[in-house]
């Protein structure tokens, strides 16, 4: 049964919220003030039969903050993200995007959300520009506004050279750039990036890092999942570690590392995940 949203506005989890670090990209764009959370999971639980994929997950991401959601395969990251995008219904709890409950108003929640899925699915028989336009239209853009936004994302991700090529003929890096442009064409306040750099070369990966920095500077809330700890070190203001559907650690990377007594985030992550294996066996 779909969970109902019972509250909006103020929210506390019992964990101290960490103020996002200052944007790394300096420029003319002002840093927006930190306000209410843009992305919120409120005691989210999702079960498949007797198997709980996500258990009582509560976390939030503020505007201008980059949050890295970590966890081994099957920890519940994708399920949590799917609940946020209202692709699946929670067993209990709720998810919020920029003040809109995903379960109460899924269409409006998706309007405020950009979701880059790990599958990087593109329509093979559409050109890159056609695909971006298609998603722009689905997000309610048309006329000059659509043209303007398509031009913006095409320029932002350097898609011009292959904009008229069918997606089926693009390289992995080009596909990832088109995927990002597709996800961001409507310029939403909250971004979910599921393993955004998978399969990319160093140059393409750097494009993504630059983009994340830029969007943080524009006040966007960014939640991303990755298996690359160096990316987390480089980008994240806070990290959350999921294990068996539960959040077992959360805070700035340095705090999480210190709490485990390990020397690096990668080791801290391993110790948190291995704890689970040991407990299970």
């Amino acid at each position: 049964m779909a969970a109902r949203c019972v509250a909006s506005g103020s929210y506390t989890t019992g964990r101290t919220l960490i103020r996002p670090r200052s944007p790394r990209v300096s420029g003319s764009m002002p840093v927006p003030p930190v306000t209410s959370p843009m992305i919120r999971f409120d005691r989210l639980t999702k079960c498949y039969g007797r198997l709980a994929a996500v258990r009582d997950l509560s976390l939030e991401v503020l505007g201008g903050e980059v949050y890295a959601l970590l966890g081994p395969n099957g920890a519940g990251k994708t399920t949590a993200i799917r609940c946020l995008a209202s692709l699946v219904s929670p067993t209990s709890g709720s998810t919020w995007v920029a003040g809109t409950c995903s379960q109460d108003d899924p269409v409006e929640a998706r309007r405020k959300l950009a979701l880059l899925t790990a599958s990087m699915g593109l329509y093979e028989r559409l050109t890159a520009v056609e695909l971006i336009e298609y998603f722009g239209r689905l997000h309610g853009l048309d006329g000059d506004r659509l043209d303007e936004r398509v031009r913006a994302v095409v320029g932002l991700f350097g898609i011009e050279p292959f904009g008229n090529r069918l997606c089926g003929r693009l390289s992995t890096g080009q596909r990832q750039r088109v995927s990002l442009a597709r996800a961001l064409v409507h310029d939403p306040p909250a971004l979910i990036l599921d393993e955004p750099t998978t399969g990319l070369d160093v140059l393409s990966g750097q494009t993504i890092y630059d983009f994340i920095d830029r969007e943080r500077a524009r006040g966007k809330a960014i939640l991303f999942s990755t298996h690359q700890m160096e990316e987390v070190d480089l980008l994240a203001d806070r990290v959350g570690v999921l294990r068996d559907g539960s959040l077992v650690a959360e805070g700035p990377p340095a705090t999480v590392v210190a709490a485990t007594g390990e020397a690096s985030l990668a080791r801290a992550f391993l110790s948190l995940v291995r704890d689970a294996e040991v407990q299970e066996s």
Partner: protein, 685 residues
């Protein structure tokens, strides 16, 4: 622009860039179809001319051959040859196509007995025999004329009755009638094919390319996605159907086909009929489009979707073929049958006229079926289970910890998979057909008993034990409560008269296998108490154990992970099909309904003993009633309507039984819970 219109435009653009769709939609009907027909026609004509060009070598042997030889000599299509003593060898070695062997009778008129030898398995010989027969007839005529002259009688004296027949069918009606038996099937198939690939591409293709999740993250309702996709598939289907229709009409109606002229078949379908045919193709394309989309969206790949849709394809072809068979008329019943009604309407329209009332019924019913299919497709697109698989985002084996994977693997192994169970049933059915039927023929009742135990019971137990499955959970070996048994007895006793009615209603449309029924009647009728006990053991107790362990045991155990209604329908249909043969088509539906009712009861109670009890009661009641002389006749005549007074009573008993079973049991569970009964509940966080 509305969301569904955006989806529609995009899907159409993408589909029109798909070579496979274009091939099926445009190239096949426009090019290949007429080319194929014309090629076939040319081959036919070429073959006929080849045969005609050569005079058939024939021989005349025996007594008084001169007269016939003279007649044969006048036939340009015949060439007289001399052969040896061995006539058969001469025909087999192809040195002669047919031989007329003449023997003089001993009667006063010196009549001749003529035997024409030929090879019925050779085209040349058949043609030679035809021509030689004509020569013999002409010879006979000349002999008769001579006799009549000698007697001073006229020709009319020997022909007191002159018979000739003349068809009132106009040439175009004849053409329409002949082609109308084939063209509707082709039109339905081409419409189906037109929708087949786009549906797979637009539904399963989204899964395969990983775009479905991306699409559904856009702010639009699943309904808009379905409508946009469905409009595309339906449009492609309609266009494909329209092009096929146009292509066929151009091919058969413009006279470019010489075969129609040779056979005297003119094809002239009126513009109104063409319009009605096209209008009927629209809801048909909609029906196929929606149905295929709804099914294909649950498949994760092209291949899987093709596998899922192929049985549907086959099921559609069968009703579409009905107009081909002689003796089946376009009736109200045919009009409401999906696809069959359309096919019959096309046939009648092509033959020159269709009943407008029946035509309207076909249009309305096809539209209703299309609407139902559309609702089904919309539900499929809105279902988490369909979109993200049975686990709905379940991390899957690869994503779980080792211990979880081992636990799940052990749990999965406790019952067979649905595919494994269905495969087992298929193999069992084949073994039963090839082994069980000969056993019954060779050893009669003992053979039947042996077939049930050796080919059903033993393989089922072996499958579960050798496969390492849990016997108790696979076969639902839970002990039932007394109240549940009583309720199940009410259910089966209530449903029996209803099933009887279904069987009786079928006699209006299906042929009744009288000989088989008489044989069955003999089999189930007992005239002594000992015989009754034996028959109950053979026909009630044995199937109640052996067939239940296969159907409500292995099959139900393997498919319990599906939604309950699917389990029930699948089990009933397979159970009905298992009892099917060429002669016993009439048994399919009643047996399937019984199977569904028994499956529901077993699913509800979790006990196969309930199924065994119901099966026992059903078969046992038939044996007992058939053995009562006064009642035996009532049951043995399928044409005889069941007593109407029994129906309300049966309904009440059935409803009471169902209600009682529902009260005493919990609704069946499905999905992960049902498939993995040993997965422990996760600790509450």
């Amino acid at each position: 622009m509305k969301a569904w219109q955006i989806v529609f435009r995009k899907e159409l653009r993408e589909t029109l860039r798909d070579r496979r769709t274009l091939l099926v939609m445009i190239v096949v009907p426009v090019m290949l179809y007429p080319v194929l027909l014309i090629t076939m026609e040319q081959l036919l004509i070429f073959g006929m001319r080849n045969l005609e060009a050569e005079a058939s070598p024939v021989a005349v042997v025996g007594e008084g051959t001169a007269g016939l030889e003279e007649v044969v000599g006048r036939f340009e299509t015949l060439r007289l040859v001399t052969i040896g003593e061995d006539l058969e060898e001469a025909i087999r070695s192809d040195s002669v196509t047919a031989v007329a062997s003449i023997r003089l009778s001993a009667d006063a008129e010196s009549n001749r007995d003529v035997v024409i030898l030929f090879d019925a398995a050779a085209d040349r010989s058949l043609r030679g025999r035809g021509e030689l027969s004509l020569a013999v007839e002409e010879w006979e005529d000349s002999l008769l004329a001579r006799r009549l002259d000698d007697s001073g009688l006229t020709r009319s004296f020997a022909e007191p009755v002159s018979v000739s027949d003349s068809s009132v069918a106009r040439a175009e009606e004849l053409g329409g009638y002949t082609l109308g038996r084939i063209l509707p099937l082709l039109l339905v198939i081409m419409t189906l094919l037109g929708a087949f690939y786009p549906a797979i591409d637009l539904a399963a293709g989204e899964h395969e390319r990983g775009t479905l999740e991306t699409l559904l993250t856009a702010p639009l309702a699943p309904r808009d996605v379905v409508i946009g996709k469905f409009m595309t598939v339906a449009l492609i289907g309609v266009v494909a159907a329209g092009l096929n229709l146009a292509s066929m009409l151009l091919t058969v109606q413009t006279g470019i086909l010489q075969a129609t002229a040779i056979l005297g078949l003119e094809v002239s379908i009126s513009p109104l009929s063409v319009l009605v045919i096209f209008l009927t193709l629209v809801p048909l394309a909609v029906l196929f489009g929606a149905l295929f989309l709804g099914i294909a969206v649950g498949s994760s790949s092209f291949k899987e979707a093709q596998n899922a849709l192929t049985p549907v394809y086959m099921l559609v072809i069968i009703p579409a073929m009905l107009p081909i068979f002689p003796g089946i008329e376009f009736s109200a019943l045919m009009a409401i049958l999906p696809v069959a009604g359309v096919s019959f309407l096309f046939r009648d329209l092509m033959a020159g006229g269709a009943d407008p009332v029946l035509g309207t019924v076909v249009l309305v019913m096809t539209s209703l079926y299309a609407l139902a299919a559309l609702t089904f497709a919309a539900r499929a697109f809105g279902s988490e289970r369909t979109l993200f698989g049975a686990g709905s985002g379940d991390p899957g084996p690869a994503g779980r910890s080792l211990t979880e994977r081992l636990r799940a693997s052990r749990a999965r192994a406790s019952v067979p998979s649905s595919g494994g169970a269905v495969l087992f049933i298929a193999l069992t059915a084949v073994a039963f057909f090839w082994g069980g039927v000969p056993l019954q023929i060779a050893f009669g009742e003992i053979g039947l008993l042996a077939a049930e135990w050796l080919l059903l019971f033993v393989p089922a137990v072996a499958f579960v034990t050798v496969g390492g499955f849990d016997l108790r959970s696979t076969l639902s070996l839970k002990r039932p409560m007394a109240g549940q048994m009583l309720a199940a007895a009410l259910v089966i006793l209530g449903v029996m008269p209803l099933v009887w009615t279904i069987g009786w209603l079928q006699t209006f449309i299906l042929p009744v296998p009288w000989e088989l029924l008489e044989g069955l009647e003999e089999l189930v009728r007992a005239d002594t108490m000992m015989r009754l006990v034996w028959l109950l053991l053979l026909l009630a107790v044995t199937p109640a154990i052996c067939e239940e362990i296969v159907f409500r045991g292995v099959l139900l155990g393997g498919t319990r992970g599906l939604e309950p209604w699917r389990v029930i329908v699948l089990n009933g249909v397979i159970f009905g099909a298992f009892h099917l043969s060429f002669e016993t088509v009439i048994r399919f539906l009643p047996t399937a309904v019984l199977g569904m009712v028994i499956t529901w009861s077993v699913l509800r109670t979790g006990s196969i003993w309930i199924g065994a009890l119901m099966h026992l009661l059903n078969n046992g009641t038939i044996v007992v009633l058939a053995s009562i002389p006064a009642l035996g006749d009532l049951f043995s005549d399928p044409d005889r309507p069941p007593p109407l007074w029994l129906m309300p009573l049966a309904l009440v008993i059935f409803a009471a039984g169902v209600h009682a079973l529902r009260l005493m049991t919990d609704p069946p569970v499905h999905g992960l819970e049902a498939r993995e009964p040993n997965v422990p509940s996760p600790e509450t966080p």
